[in-house]
């Protein structure tokens, strides 16, 4: 189990939150997702055997949000 923190551009609509939450949690291997609306961050726990930070970053990018930086713990 690894933890990924993505810093996004400023989130301004609460529905973005729902979208990202749904978009990332529907990825294979993702155990839990938390979108911090005010901090504009996405925290995801995932199974390293199934997915990786690049795929998850791509999932967020595909939804139309740019990822500024990522941090893997």
């Amino acid at each position: 189990m690894a933890k990924l923190v993505m810093q996004l551009d400023e989130l301004s609509c609460p529905s973005c939150m729902q979208k990202i939450q749904a978009g990332v949690s529907q990825q294979d291997g993702v155990e839990s997702v938390k979108v911090l609306f005010n901090a504009s961050k996405v925290k995801a726990e995932y199974d390293e055997a199934v997915t990786n930070p690049d795929e998850l970053t791509q999932a967020v990018t595909d939804l139309g949000y740019s990822v500024q930086s990522i941090k893997v713990k």
Binding site: E10, S12, C13, P14, S15, Q18, K19, A22, G23, Q26, K34, V35, L36, F37, N38, A39, K41, T61, D62, L63, G64, Y65, S66, K73
Partner: protein, 638 residues
């Protein structure tokens, strides 16, 4: 995919373009131009404006979310179909321009935490063995590395000063812009700024484990942790949007009034309802963080605002906690040896009384401490240790009765502990204890075997702001103030009188403090517990609100709901006033949001509200709740 992101990035320009086109269209018409040209311009404006909204709706739909964007997209396309080009153009403009304003104003409500996180250090000067330094990112510093911090630079790690001295500003941690002198042996925190001097620091915590990083993470999490009311609104909004879609469809099918159906889509946008409460919470928590009051979430704000009973621990909460030895009396000739063995055991404890004894011994030049073979903390009773084959006990009265008296046993503790262990106190000793306690001192006894060898009186001073702060809390509606302490009755009475508390209970174990809190809760009181030590964690956890003093232990800070970074009671007053103001603000915003929806429905039934005017009212209401929340950013306790 690239096109989508490009579309997002130029959203603001699109809003501007749409606005411009609408202005030109109406200008043309008023100047007597042909209607067909105006209609054409409005059609173009609608098409341009709806593109980014449509894209967002599509992306959401892909992950099975019915978003506001979808409602607006359908409404706009519907209006285009029935030829209401002016309505569709104005709706897209208002929606895009509104979200631009939301973004701008929301940024303001998030200012406090942003300012805080921008204070985070970025790089560190790591010192090599040969005295040269390399600049690395703060995340690349390892524990036990030595870092050099010069005047004007930020301390990049949590650590201990091993060389040099300096005045540092710890405002990023405590909220207090006061210079603190740091010398060899002192702890420094990441984020502190060296105002004057140079320090060499050995890292004990780095990167995300530093206190500063944890404060930021805590505040970020707190701003997004939702109160039950918000969770309800979230759940509501999840079903609300699809429900509006279904409702509009049903009305359209039944009444055959296509225009009414698409108007409902626009009016049904949740708008201020979704953003109203969170925006107040963000501003309130951000304000607290800037003033040294860490509030761990929206739930905490509401619970704290409703507190009517405050239970205080004494030491370190009402008193400074930086206790000092005020009186020492030996009942043995081997004074230095007794003090050394006492110090060796007490050095292992972070109890305020122990710290005072160690400090005293250090001042007296006691350095040659015996080695401790085994040490065990007995909660609320004291410490039991083996030193050079002897069993040493330090703590409260009851501990002695539980311990085996074998060979050379050394006991350090309160008077009651000695009598229960069967140790006879002489008349002179009893008199000395009474005298020490009446003076408001905490009395610690040290015993070897059945012999009391040392009496130490330790005094603690009341925090200067305590009395005034407690008076303000009473005025602000906190009805019941209580002090609980493990200390003796005389000391407790002296402190309670000094701070103006009438109800106090002394000689308590941590478990007994918990019982008091349970009793208050059972009688329907909303209880906040304010404390600092490890021993208080059960009380902090059980109380409706646990408030930890920032100088306390990590455990206490983790278990608590609110942390007062500077450990002052003025911050407690601030927390009380701020949470009340934030809770009021949240209620105002919910009333505004619900009121808007009600008004729009009424307007629709009376036929006053059209698509464009409905969207206008929505956007206004969103801005009103954001502006209302922004008042909290400037909130201050006079």
């Amino acid at each position: 995919m690239k096109f989508q992101r490009w579309l997002q990035s130029v959203k603001n320009q699109i809003a501007l373009t749409v606005g411009g086109l609408i202005a030109v269209a109406y200008g043309w018409y008023w100047l007597g131009g042909a209607v067909i040209v105006m209609q054409g311009l409005l059609l173009v404006a609608s098409m341009v404006g709806v593109a980014p909204i449509l894209m967002q709706a599509y992306q959401a739909l892909k992950v099975k979310v019915v978003s506001i964007d979808l409602l607006v997209t359908i409404a706009v396309l519907g209006a285009l179909i029935i030829g209401e080009f002016n309505e569709s153009a104005i709706v897209t403009f208002l929606f895009l321009f509104g979200s631009y304003l939301e973004q701008r104003t929301l940024k303001k409500t998030r200012e406090s935490i942003r300012a805080l996180s921008e204070m985070a250090p970025q790089t560190a000067q790591v010192l090599a063995a040969d005295g040269t330094t390399t600049t690395v990112g703060v995340d690349d510093v390892e524990i036990d590395d030595q870092v050099l911090v010069k005047t004007g630079a930020q301390v990049p790690v949590d650590g201990q000063v091993v060389q040099g001295s300096a005045y540092v500003n710890e405002a990023s941690i405590t909220g207090e812009a006061q210079l603190v002198k740091k010398i060899v042996g002192d702890a420094v925190y990441s984020g502190a700024i060296v105002d004057n001097g140079t320090l060499t620091v050995t890292a004990t915590q780095v990167g995300d484990d530093t206190t500063f990083a944890q404060i930021i993470e805590l505040v970020e999490e707190a701003q997004d942790s939702k109160s039950p009311a918000e969770k309800f609104i979230d759940r509501f909004a999840t079903y609300y949007t699809p429900a509006v879609l279904v409702l509009a469809l049903a009305i359209g099918l039944i009444t055959r009034d296509f225009k009414l159906a698409i108007t409902i889509l626009v009016l049904g946008c949740p708008g201020a309802l979704v953003i109203g409460a969170p925006v107040s919470i963000v501003a309130g928590i951000g304000n607290g963080a800037k003033h040294g009051v860490l509030i761990k979430g929206g739930e905490v704000v509401n619970a704290m605002a409703g507190i009517d009973t405050m239970v205080f621990d004494k030491t370190g909460t009402l008193t400074k906690g930086d206790t000092a030895v005020a009186h020492v009396q030996f009942y043995t000739a081997a004074e230095q040896a007794t003090l050394a063995v006492t110090t060796a055991v007490e050095a292992q404890s972070d109890h305020p009384l122990a710290t005072a004894i160690v400090q005293y011994a250090r001042e007296r030049g006691v350095t040659d401490l015996p080695t401790i073979e085994r040490i065990e903390t007995l909660k609320g009773l004291g410490v039991q240790a083996e030193v050079a084959g002897q069993t040493i006990r330090i703590g409260r009265a009851k501990m002695m009765t539980e311990a085996e008296v074998a060979g050379q046993t050394i006991r350090i503790g309160r008077a009651k502990m000695m009598t229960e262990a069967g140790i006879r106190l002489t008349g002179a000793q009893i008199a000395a204890i009474t005298a020490s306690q009446t003076a408001g001192q905490s009395t610690v006894l040290v015993a070897v075997d059945q012999q009391v060898v040392l009496l130490i009186g330790i005094a603690d001073t009341v925090k200067p702001e305590a009395k005034a702060a407690l008076t303000r809390l009473k005025k602000a509606g906190v009805k019941h103030l209580v002090m609980l302490t493990g200390d003796n009755d005389q000391t407790a009475a002296a402190i309670a009188k000094a701070v103006g508390i009438t109800e106090y209970h002394a000689n308590l174990l941590p478990a007994e403090k918990v019982e008091f809190i349970k009793t208050y809760q059972a009688s329907g009181q909303k209880v906040a517990f304010i404390g600092d030590g490890i021993n208080d964690s059960p009380s902090l956890a059980l109380a409706d609100i646990g408030i930890a003093m920032g100088s306390g232990t990590d455990v206490a800070i983790e278990t608590s709901d609110i942390v007062l970074m500077q450990s002052t009671l003025s911050e407690l007053v601030y927390a009380d006033y701020l949470t009340k103001a934030t809770a009021r603000n949240t209620v105002q915003n919910i009333v505004i949001a619900v009121g808007t929806v009600g008004l729009l429905l009424l307007g629709l039934m009376l036929g006053w509200v059209q698509m464009a005017s409905g969207m206008f009212v929505h956007e206004i209401s969103i801005l009103v709740v954001i502006f209302n929340a922004m008042r909290l950013i400037r909130f201050k306790v006079r």
